[in-house]
């Protein structure tokens, strides 16, 4: 890992800390007394706030996860540099794409 990856991983971690707590908190709060898909969608659709909240979440999770995966593959499985970078980018971009699809599906009108 070099300096750039290190900074990206630390910054994404710092962004994620409050988002994880908010995510868990809202889940526990909203689920009390049961909740249906329809209810959730009625709260999230068209909400710029939730779009931004989960948009940022998806990006930081993808960055953080991709770099973490790279480290594991490098240290535990001894993958070489080029393979590592290819897997890191693929994993990161696919995560962003899938996350972005999910976020747009629940927050788009």
């Amino acid at each position: 890992m070099d300096l750039r990856l290190y900074i990206a991983q630390r910054v994404s971690a710092m962004v994620m800390i409050p988002l994880v707590f908010a995510h868990l908190g809202v889940m526990i709060y909203a689920i009390q007394g049961g909740v249906s898909a329809g209810e959730i969608l009625s709260r999230t659709q068209g909400s710029v706030f939730w779009f931004l909240f989960y948009g940022v979440f998806v990006v930081s999770v993808s960055v953080h996860g991709a770099i973490g995966l790279r480290t594991i593959l490098s240290e535990t499985f001894r993958f070489r540099s080029l393979t590592l970078d290819a897997i890191m980018w693929t994993f990161g971009l696919v995560s962003i794409f899938m996350g972005a699809r999910a976020v747009s599906a629940v927050t788009w009108l």
């Binding site: 890992m1 070099d2 300096l3 990856l5 290190y6 900074i7 630390r10 490098s74 240290e75 535990t76 001894r78 540099s81």
Partner: protein, 282 residues
């Protein structure tokens, strides 16, 4: 400085002389003394079983020796006893025998130790002792590890002398109270024993990683006013094998026989490199 150099040279000469029977009168006397000690060790009844790694860089296995226990006995004493009374072919390395030269480190019951100052009492497991060459380094023969990768990385991390002034310049005045000097002082007592290097799992898993000792050295240079180019120091520790690979689990700090804290030094490097990157970005 030259005086210390001469003293350490003498010390090295002295211990080599002990190995050379009949070299001169004084070392000869020491050899006789040593033989007496060895004889008295043989009279002891309690024994321990010592497994010693025998082999070279391609293969090897443990060989077991029954060694008399003594009340006061270091792991290096045990290895020496085996070499002098059981098998003169056993190769191992030492020089000062007082924890100054850093040449005697080995794996003892699975942990890296400076053997000249590790008492058998402290590390004996039941009545067995297992002695092997230092981890994370190639083996030359028996207990002798090849230190080249360790010292090469020391150089790669910038740990060599880079003159920044000529003899015509004044010496910079550095007070021992300056925070940078105080910080550097915490790390300068490194004896290059590679115990931390053997203890580090990141070194084991990432052959490029410079390792705790070399990075700690870079930290002292960063805090040294006599070093001009601090940017170059930070550049050297920011690459593929640089300080950012450290997982901060602290095996280096736990095992350093001199009580140094390479983990903390590396944390210092990490934050210094980030500060520099932010400054450049801004």
């Amino acid at each position: 400085m030259p005086r210390e150099f001469v003293i350490s040279g003498l010390r090295l000469f002295w211990s080599t002389a002990i190995m050379n029977e009949g070299f001169s009168e004084a070392p000869q006397r020491l050899v006789e003394d040593k033989k007496d000690t060895i004889l008295s060790m043989t009279n002891e009844t309690t024994k321990m079983s010592v497994k010693v790694w025998r082999g070279d860089k391609s293969s090897g296995s443990y060989q077991t020796f029954e060694v008399p226990r003594q009340e006061n006995q270091t792991v290096l004493d045990v290895v020496t006893w085996i070499q002098q009374t059981q098998d003169p072919n056993l190769s191992y390395r030492f020089a000062c025998r007082v924890g100054m030269c850093g040449s005697c480190a080995m794996m003892v019951n699975g942990a890296p130790r400076w053997t000249c100052r590790t008492h058998v009492n402290k590390v004996l497991d039941g009545d067995t002792l297992e002695v092997a060459p230092l981890r994370n380094l190639p083996v030359i023969k028996d207990l002798v590890a090849d230190m080249d990768p360790f010292f090469d990385k020391w150089v790669d991390a910038g740990g060599h002398h880079a003159p920044s002034a000529s003899r015509y310049d004044d010496m910079p005045k550095i007070s021992s109270d300056e925070p940078e000097r105080a910080e550097a002082n915490k790390s300068i007592e490194c004896i290059n024993c590679a115990v931390c290097y053997a203890a580090c799992d990141t070194v084991a898993q990432n052959p490029d990683y410079l390792g705790p000792a070399a990075l700690q050295r870079a930290w002292t240079l960063l805090n040294d006013k006599k070093v001009d180019d601090h940017d170059a120091v930070l550049e050297k520790v920011s690459g593929k094998g640089g300080c950012h690979n450290c997982h901060s689990q602290g095996s280096c700090t736990l095992y350093c026989p001199n009580g140094l804290d390479p983990m903390r030094a590396i944390a210092g490097l990490k934050s210094a490199t980030i500060k520099r990157a932010l400054k450049r970005g801004g």
